[in-house]
């Protein structure tokens, strides 16, 4: 046996390599699937804040003792095992008394072991009523160690218990928070000094920490909004896919128990479970499909190689039969040569699969453990059986032949016609390809479409290539191109040409398809990330001070070339459209527009009206209001006075109404003098005319001689809007530079107004998706930066708007800002044109100078990494490896075909030398014959791979989840495709060309004397 193996070392090595490759595929598929699932769980958990990967239980009353969830209905064991010890906290509202406009409100809290997670100046609380306040509270409210503070309690409860509704506290220390997972994502010292919204100003203090007794003591009155919380951190390092799925499967049970106990449960683990299950299902289909077709290809290659090997042993089988060994002896003669390397390939493949698994685990993020799963182990004996049977089959076929047949050097069947097996194979491949093309078959199984299509093309090409080559060779001979003709004719009569064509076609198709899929996947993940983030870097701003942000940016990036403010408005209900308010000139340079050319977007249509505002500066507004033949008719008779109010916008974008006065019946007008808060400048935005009850007004009102602190205000009567409405009538504006005349023809409304044209009536908007309900003729309602309805008009459509939903509007921030201020509901952010840490630092510093902080920073690269850390991405990367391995398998097959038939081939070439061809010509002929065939097959494979990609890619999951806004672009990645095709074709051509030349170098004339 060893002699035989040594004698055909190359063959044995190739058989071993191919068998190892089959085993590797079979074993590695479950290992890879497992590794990706583990990596997914770990990266998913690692990317989530501790509060979403953990679990929080909250009760609206203070705990009586111990954990919130009673031991009678505990957290289910699988979940409990993955959670750490709960971090308990009890808290309540702590409004500082006495209540004044500046007295702050906040929270007082006991949290188990809080002192160890704070930097304390002073000491930690030890007794009832002792508290720690934050450094911010010291800064904003002047608290000091030793100071006494009284907070309010629930007055109703206190009176029932005969207690005063207040709790005296004493400051014993000042703290600064140490960031750690202990805090469960909370920042306890960021609220101090913050001014709340609402009509009455209110201020916040940070969380104050105290002893548990302070909250629980019987002498303590019931405080406001008491609650207890248990925070459970997930033991991430101990949580793999099995543990996660087992734990999260019990969430409904926990939820049921918690509901019964009146406890709220909050966790993001359900989302993690959904993600993991979804992607696990994807991996269970895509990975076996990808690896399976490689395994299938390698099995086919191995079958071909075994066929070549057994075909070359026909004489030896004949010898065995001649010497009376019988069929059984002949079979063992072959099996002893072929089975050992094939079976030795199983442990080699197993080892290779484990090495690949180690490499995969190393390459995948998350630090998943190396695991040898039961399914992977179970495949090894299966490989032994399959490979053994695969080897035994051709051995059995050869030894079934009679000696007379075996003594012929080639099997009786030959020629170019396909055999029945090939016809069946081509028919099946053709039918399935047709099914994919027609859409009858879809889903992840489309991944096999390229291989099937390539198989069909390869078989057809293999059938036609021989007669066509023969015909072409003869034609070339007739034209006198002897060398090329001989090359072509040599290829046409090559016994293994058909196999070479099929193998190269399928191998190259897999290479091209997988390369294209990899590139398309990467492109789509990047596009999706670009769409999601909107710019290379986006920093969320805490607060709503747009003016401060603009001032900071103006200092750091005066031209707005590298950073720009963006306000995202969110509709309160369903009748407004989400809007992204941007500075167009800056935004188009900074933002990312996946799949569209930013320069083709009609940015000028978003421009603000080219009307300067009417500015007044001062604290006293004077002027004259005249009624010119004004007639007011109240339905049903009577009279109602007409009030006129100026709407002015402060420098802080606060809308201030300035009532000018009322026009009573028969009043011709009056002079007015009103106090206004416009010392730093205000802009006139509207004149409202209001009646006490609905009435119709006919006549003119004239506003003139308006001055602020004695300085005339140019009203520019022509710069005010006119309104004509079928339901309310009309208000037409006119006037001179110093006066405004409103011609009223109203019907039955209470308030009509004329706006300054500086303030647009409808904001021009570039929209995507559908307009919100109620939209007519491109006019719709979006949401202003103040979260109020904002009339808008469509001035163009975009395929999508960066970092926005499927239906959204892109508007000019300068326009939207006129007359409105940013509301807390709106999101204020700064978009950066690049990931520039220095710029970010500068912006952060500039913002801090303005008293503004950044909440968080998202980068395109970070988001892309998250998209890349998904099973679809890993599966496509595996696909590329599969393509490479497929090419390797095909190259091995080509080598075996060359090695196994080299004697016969060298004799054929020696015969050419006998005809007078020089050795160099013979080498060229030998190389060219194979190279021509391989190049032809490679081109066919490339086309098959491309067509296969067209069929398959729509069904291949490129992203873990379908994004709300699709940036899907399945167009061919031509550069990658052509590069992979050229590389594959070049490598294959070099291999067969080198083999051909090597064989030609051995085509000595004495070969002709060999009979074998």
């Amino acid at each position: 046996m060893w002699k035989r193996l040594r004698y055909r070392r190359a063959q044995a090595l190739v058989l071993l390599a191919l068998a190892a490759l089959v085993t590797t595929c079979a074993v590695f598929a479950p290992l890879f699937t497992r590794a990706t699932q583990q990596a997914l769980v770990r990266t998913d958990l690692a990317s989530r804040p501790v509060e979403t990967s953990g679990l929080q239980m909250r009760s609206d009353r203070l705990r009586s003792d111990g954990d919130l969830i009673a031991s009678a209905s505990p957290i289910p064991a699988p979940l409990r095992r993955q959670l750490g010890r709960p971090i308990r906290s009890d808290s309540a509202d702590a409004p500082v008394l006495p209540e004044t406009l500046t007295s702050p409100d906040g929270t007082i809290e006991w949290r188990d072991g809080f002192c160890a997670h704070l930097v304390v100046r002073g000491r930690c609380p030890r007794a009832i009523g002792e508290v720690l306040v934050s450094e911010g509270d010291v800064r904003h409210y002047g608290y000091a160690v030793g100071q006494r503070i009284v907070i309010g309690a629930d007055s109703a409860q206190a009176s029932e218990g005969g207690l005063r509704p207040e709790l005296p506290l004493r400051v014993v220390g000042v703290y600064r928070q140490k960031p750690s997972a202990y805090w469960f994502g909370r920042q306890v010292a960021v609220s101090s000094g913050a001014e709340g919204g609402g009509p009455i100003a209110s201020f916040s203090h940070d969380v104050w920490f105290t002893t548990q007794q302070t909250l629980h003591d019987s002498t303590t009155p019931v405080l406001l909004s008491e609650q207890s919380t248990d925070d459970y951190l997930l033991r991430r390092s101990a949580t793999g896919v099995d543990e996660l799925l087992a734990a999260t499967a019990t969430l409904p049970t926990l939820q049921r128990r918690a509901d019964q106990a009146g406890i709220k449960v909050e966790t993001g683990l359900g989302d993690v479970r959904g993600d993991v299950l979804h992607q696990r299902d994807q991996s269970r289909v895509t990975v076996p499909l990808l690896v399976g077709q490689l395994a299938l290809l390698v099995v086919v290659v191995l079958w071909f190689v075994l066929g070549v090997a057994t075909g070359q042993r026909r004489q030896e089988v004949a010898v065995a039969l001649l010497r009376g060994s019988g069929r059984k002896g002949a079979r063992w003669l072959l099996a002893e040569e072929l089975l050992p390397p094939v079976l030795a390939g199983v442990p080699a493949g197993l080892g290779l699969a484990l090495l690949l698994d180690v490499a995969t685990v190393h390459l995948l993020p998350g630090g998943a453990p190396v695991e040898l799963t039961a399914s992977a182990v179970a495949t090894a004996p299966g490989c032994v059986l399959v490979l053994g049977a695969l080897t035994w089959l051709p051995v059995g076929l050869v030894t079934r032949e009679g000696i007379d047949s075996l003594l012929r050097s080639v099997p009786a069947r030959g020629g170019w016609r396909p055999g029945p097996g090939e016809i069946v194979l081509a028919s099946v491949a053709g039918a399935l390809s047709l099914a994919f093309a027609s859409g009858a078959l879809s889903g992840p199984f489309a991944l096999v479409a390229p291989a099937l299509l390539a198989l069909l093309v390869g078989l057809v090409l293999a059938t036609v290539v021989l007669p066509v080559a023969a015909w072409l060779g003869r034609r070339l001979l007739l034209r006198g191109r002897a060398r090329l003709a001989i090359s072509v004719l040599t290829g046409a009569r090559g016994r293994t040409t058909r196999r070479t064509v099929v193998l190269v076609t399928v191998g190259v198709a897999l290479v091209v398809f997988s390369a294209d899929a990899l590139a398309v996947g990467a492109r789509n993940r990047e596009s999706a990330a670009e769409q999601q983030v909107g710019a290379p870097m986006v920093a969320e701003v805490r607060g709503t001070d747009l003016a401060a942000v603009r001032r900071a940016l103006a200092r750091v990036d005066p031209g707005g070339r590298r950073a720009t403010p963006v306000v995202r408005t969110r509709p309160a209900g369903s009748d407004g459209a989400e809007a992204l308010a941007v500075v167009p000139d800056e935004f188009r340079r900074v933002a990312l527009f996946p799949g569209q050319d930013a320069s083709t977007i009609p940015w000028p249509r978003l421009a603000a009206p080219d009307v300067p505002p009417v500015v007044l500066r001062g604290t006293t507004l004077t002027g004259r209001l005249d009624a010119l033949s004004l007639r007011v008719d109240v339905p049903g008779g009577g009279y109602t006075p007409v009030s006129v109010t100026l709407q002015v916008l402060s420098a802080d974008n606060e809308l201030l109404p300035v009532p000018l006065g009322k026009l009573r019946k028969d009043s011709a007008g009056f002079r007015f003098s009103r106090q206004v808060s416009c010392a730093t400048g205000c802009r006139l935005v509207a004149v409202d005319v209001t009646t006490g009850v609905p009435a119709s007004i006919v006549g003119d009102l004239r506003l003139s001689d308006v001055a602020a602190n004695g300085t005339p205000v140019a009203l520019r009567g022509s710069s005010w809007t006119s309104q004509v409405s079928a339901s309310t009538g009309s208000v037409r504006s006119s006037g001179s530079s110093s006066s405004l005349t409103l011609s009223l023809r109203t019907t039955s409304s209470r308030t009509v107004s004329s706006q300054q044209q500086w303030l647009p009536q409808r904001v021009p908007a570039l929209v995507t998706g559908s307009l919100p309900p109620g939209a007519r003729k491109g006019r719709f309602t979006t949401t202003g930066i103040d979260s109020q309805a904002q009339p808008a008009v469509e001035v163009g459509r975009l395929p999508r708007i960066p970092s926005s939903g499927a239906s959204a509007a892109l508007v000019n921030l300068d326009v939207l800002e006129r007359g409105r201020a940013v509301d807390p509901n709106s999101g204020l952010s700064i978009w950066f044109g690049s990931v520039d840490p220095a710029l970010l630092r500068a912006v952060r510093t500039a913002l801090a100078d303005e008293g503004v902080a950044l909440a968080g920073v998202a980068t395109l690269s970070g988001t892309t990494r998250r998209f890349d850390s998904t099973i679809p991405a890993w599966a496509l990367e595996l696909g590329a490896a599969v393509g490479g391995a497929a090419l390797l398998a095909v190259l091995l097959a080509l080598l075996v075909i060359a090695v196994a038939g080299w004697r016969q081939r060298s004799r054929d070439l020696a015969a050419l030398r006998m005809t007078g061809l020089r050795p160099s010509d013979v080498r060229r002929v030998a190389a060219a014959a194979d190279v021509l065939v391989v190049l032809l097959a490679a081109i066919a494979g490339g086309v098959s791979g491309l067509l296969g990609a067209v069929l398959a890619l729509p069904s291949v999951p490129l992203l873990a989840r379908r994004p709300e806004v699709s940036t899907l672009d399945l167009s061919t990645a031509w550069v990658v495709v052509l590069a992979s095709l050229a590389t594959a074709a070049l490598v294959a051509a070099v291999v067969v060309g080198a083999a051909g030349r090597a064989i030609a170098a051995r085509s000595h004339l004495d070969r002709l004397r060999e009979v074998l």
Binding site: R6, E316, D404, V1011, L1012
Partner: protein
Amino acid sequence: MSAGLPILTSRLVHIYRSEGSDVAALSGVDLRVRAGEQIGLLGPSGAGKSTLLSLLGGLFRPSAGTIQVGDVELSAATTRELEDLRAGTIALVLQGAWRNLLPYLTPRENVGFAQYAARRLGREVPEVDDVLSTVGLAGAGEAALTALTPGQLQLCAVAVAVAAAPGVLLADEPTSQLDHVARDRVMAALAEVNRSLGATVVVVTHDPDVAASLPRTVTIRDGRVGGEGRSGEEYSVVTADGFLPLPTHAREALVPGTLVRVEQSGDRFVLDPAPEEER
């Protein structure tokens, strides 16, 4: 070990199919070879010599007629019986030395391999070294086949064939492509096999020198036995159905259609062509 076995064929016909037509390779061969005899099969290309040899070796089954080797009727033997015969009784040396050898084995190992089936059947086989000595390869047993000369390779092929001391040794063109020195060595080896083992030896050859070295030659022509030569003397052989193929020189005189009167004169038979006017 087998002693030489007699071979008897009777009205042996072999028809094969080629390109859609039936071709008669042999059309009634009657041949008797005595046990331990050494004969040569001669004849032009396509006459059917190799086909006859293959039929004698049990590689083909005849279309009609019988082949008896020793006590065994080959045409009626089962596949298993044929395998057993090839294991020790009938040995065939194919044309081209390499076709008889496993290329990765040494001469010694090839001989050992050829004895494997006979040993399995419980037959007594000669020592490998004896076999190699018999054919004149005593010193080359451990050499790689690629290191052997063409003549040594052919001797090795003969050694492999006689490894199990067969009763019948069939050799197809054993001296083709050999120079005269190697040719003589191979023929000497065959003669030694015949002498020492007592094996019946049937050699197909084109080579007149080889034919001349054999005590008996049988010429196959057009699928029939066309004549015999014994000790340099050429004879025509009367077939079982009474036909008498004419030797070449007689056929030139007696063109097809010639009427011949066969007359007996004592123990001699005279062919007397009819006069011209009677034809």
